[in-house]
């Protein structure tokens, strides 16, 4: 118990907003420091993101440079010198002698890029449409939300596959591999905007009728300015939570599509593509070609998920 004594007339019911936000923030940091799960997953995500960004510097080999490959190094076991060349690879090599550790770093790069870009796309689309629906109302709202409802009845992965399939049908054959990554981003992003739109619309409906928004309108602020300045900050918390959880889902979705052969092409392998390739070697005993990319994917998805879980609890005290 603290020794601080309340002055007799302290009006406890009246809250000072700045002090309130301070308290919230310190609580936020406090729960973070108290949660080993949150700290570890944050560390794992940070390390992985950095490793992916600086893959060309971190990776011991460039797996996409044919000059650096030696077929003699094919199927090297992890941590064991190759029988022919004597080279040692931490995580072994695949059939073409590519260093698995390096391919994982480059693969993670593509996985993270596609995941992050897809979530960003979904977020921008969802926030824009959600605000529009909430603020404008009428037919705009009805159409946007009906489309959202219909899309929500279909699993995101199916929607993404369909969009990917359609896009593939539209793109000329010679550009398909080149476009695949961007098609993936759009397909996953389009399959995931609904969550954002729903939350933002709900918050917009609430905020729109508050007095400060009415006041802003009275002093002649334009609608876009009001939405950006006044409504957006109020929905950032839930949007952040959804974005984190969506990131985990997007990474898994990308991996799944690539694994099924309808995602990242073999020339730009993501973690999913690597697993697809590795699966072929499972029966012949070269487990490392599959296992390490799979473990990386799991660690990445799990850490982001745990972080999202923690974030949701931390920002929403009612659920604690």
């Amino acid at each position: 118990m603290t020794d601080t004594q309340l002055p007799p007339d302290a009006p406890i019911a009246v809250k000072d907003p700045s002090r309130l936000s301070l308290a919230l923030q310190s609580d936020f940091i406090y729960t973070f420091k108290r949660s080993p799960v949150a700290m570890i997953s944050f560390a794992v995500v940070t390390i992985m993101v950095l490793a992916a960004i600086f893959a060309p510097l971190v990776a011991p080999y460039n797996p996409f440079d044919p000059a650096s490959l030696n077929l003699m190094n094919g199927f090297s076991r992890p941590m064991t010198p190759n029988a022919f060349t004597g080279d040692t690879f931490w995580l072994g090599t695949d059939d073409q002698g590519r260093d698995v550790f390096s391919t994982i770093l480059y693969g993670m790069r593509i996985s993270l890029f596609v995941g992050a870009a897809a979530v960003l796309f979904a977020m921008i689309l969802g926030i824009t449409l959600g605000m529009l629906a909430g603020y404008v109302g009428g037919w705009t709202e009805t159409i946007i939300m009906r489309v959202a409802d219909v899309q929500l009845t279909f699993p995101a992965i199916l929607v993404a596959m369909l969009i990917f399939g359609i896009a593939k049908g539209i793109t000329p054959v010679e550009y398909r591999d080149q476009m695949a990554i961007w098609v993936l981003i759009i397909a996953i992003g389009l399959s995931d905007w609904v969550q954002f739109a729903r939350v933002v619309r709900g918050a917009t409906l609430v905020e729109k009728n508050k007095e400060y928004v009415q006041a802003a309108r009275l002093i002649g602020r334009t609608s876009p300015a009001i939405m950006l300045r006044h409504i957006l900050p109020n929905v950032l918390g839930p949007v952040l939570v959804i974005a984190t959880i969506s990131l985990a889902l997007a990474i898994i979705a990308e991996a799944t599509l690539s694994f099924l052969g309808v995602g990242a092409p073999p020339t730009q392998p993501s973690l999913g593509t690597l697993i697809r390739i590795g699966q072929g070697f499972l029966f012949s005993g070269e487990w490392w070609i599959l296992l390490f990319p799979a473990a990386t994917l799991l660690a990445l998805a799990l850490s982001v998920n745990l972080l999202g879980d923690w974030l949701r609890d931390a920002l929403n005290p009612r659920l604690r």
Binding site: M1, T2, L6, P7, P8, D9, A10, P11, A13
Partner: protein
């Protein structure tokens, strides 16, 4: 009034909640008795520990809150240390409880007849058809017209007042000797409040049930209670017969409380307010918790905690108001 053995006897009851800021004591060393057929009103502002004390008695404190000290006796048996099934058998059978909001107290998916019979069957060794008969009787007793048909209705088919009657029937159907009524009228329309209080009082008088009536409504106390206990920041401030406490309060807090309540009995006296607010449990002042707000506070009040109440009546105050003092 409590010449024979009391139904409920609480001694030095202390409830603690460990938090990261230290241990809070929402109930701090309270003692009182309730006799057969007696209604003891417990009053105080929200957060004074009224409900927490009630939950402690019926063994429904939600963790991490726990009974840290003291004893609770019901019908002469000590119950505060009972756990699990032993405590469950007492709930409903020895101690009934009526909650604040009748809209949320009833399971929306079960017919009220089923909720009544399951309670009867849980405590009394009777056949299902006998239990159903008693369920109808219980509904009849609380004044639900057409009890035989209404027994098959779902809770949402009743009005708020009627639902609270159903809740009372449920609390009384296994004939407990003690009823804890936690703000039983707060959620009801003003027009229905008096009926519900009258019903509760009549039923308990007929059966000799002791009642712990928790409320912040002085009007309800004046109407229903025999004695009244005033709580402030987890402690008993004053305890005594309702007439004495309401008209000649001795604790300055009770005095302030009375001064801020419109009561017909006091005529047109001006309403006052107590300056400040009740302290939070994690920031209790030293000495008597009321002293920062007390108009009569002296040095001793900030140094020593107020005197503990003897078992009987009185005020936990170093400088109680004289008996003949006028209400402020």
């Amino acid at each position: 009034m409590t010449m024979t053995q009391p139904i409920l006897s609480i001694r030095d009851l202390t409830v603690e909640i460990p938090t990261r800021h230290g241990i809070l004591r929402p109930v701090d060393g309270i003692s009182y008795d309730i006799g057969r057929g007696e209604v003891l009103g417990i009053v105080g502002e929200s957060g004074a520990g009224k409900s927490m004390a009630g939950n402690a008695v019926i063994g429904l404190l939600s963790p991490p809150a726990r009974i840290a000290k003291g004893e609770i006796h019901v019908g002469g048996t000590r119950i505060d240390h009972l756990k699990g099934d032993a405590m469950r058998r007492l709930r409903g059978k020895q101690i009934g409880m009526v909650f604040q909001d009748p809209l949320t107290s009833l399971n929306p998916l079960l017919r009220i007849g089923d909720q009544l019979t399951e309670t009867i069957l849980a405590h009394l060794d009777v056949s299902r058809s006998e239990a159903e008969k008693r369920a109808v009787a219980a509904l009849d007793e609380v004044g639900i017209p057409g009890a035989r048909e209404r027994i098959n209705s779902y809770p949402h088919e009743f009005s708020g007042g009627m639902r609270q009657r159903v809740v009372i029937a449920l609390a009384l159907c296994a004939e407990p000797s003690l009823i804890i009524a936690d703000e039983p009228t707060t959620a009801l329309d003003v027009s229905v409040q008096a009926q519900i209080i009258a019903l509760l009082k009549a039923l308990c008088r007929d059966r000799g049930t002791a009642v712990m009536l928790i409320t912040h409504d002085m009007g309800v106390i004046a109407e229903a209670a025999d004695r009244v206990a005033v709580m402030y920041a987890g402690k008993l401030a004053e305890l005594g017969p309702v007439r004495d406490v309401l008209t000649r309060p001795r604790h300055p807090y009770t005095d302030g409380l009375m001064g801020s309540t419109p009561l017909a009995s006091r005529g047109k006296a001006r309403l006052h307010q107590i300056p400040g607010a009740m302290p939070r449990l994690d920031a209790l002042p030293s000495g008597c918790a009321f002293h920062p707000r007390c108009p009569y506070a002296q040095d001793k009040c900030s140094a020593d905690p107020g005197p503990t109440l003897a078992d009987g009546n009185g005020a936990a105050c170093w400088f109680p108001l004289p008996h003949d003092a006028k209400v402020a």
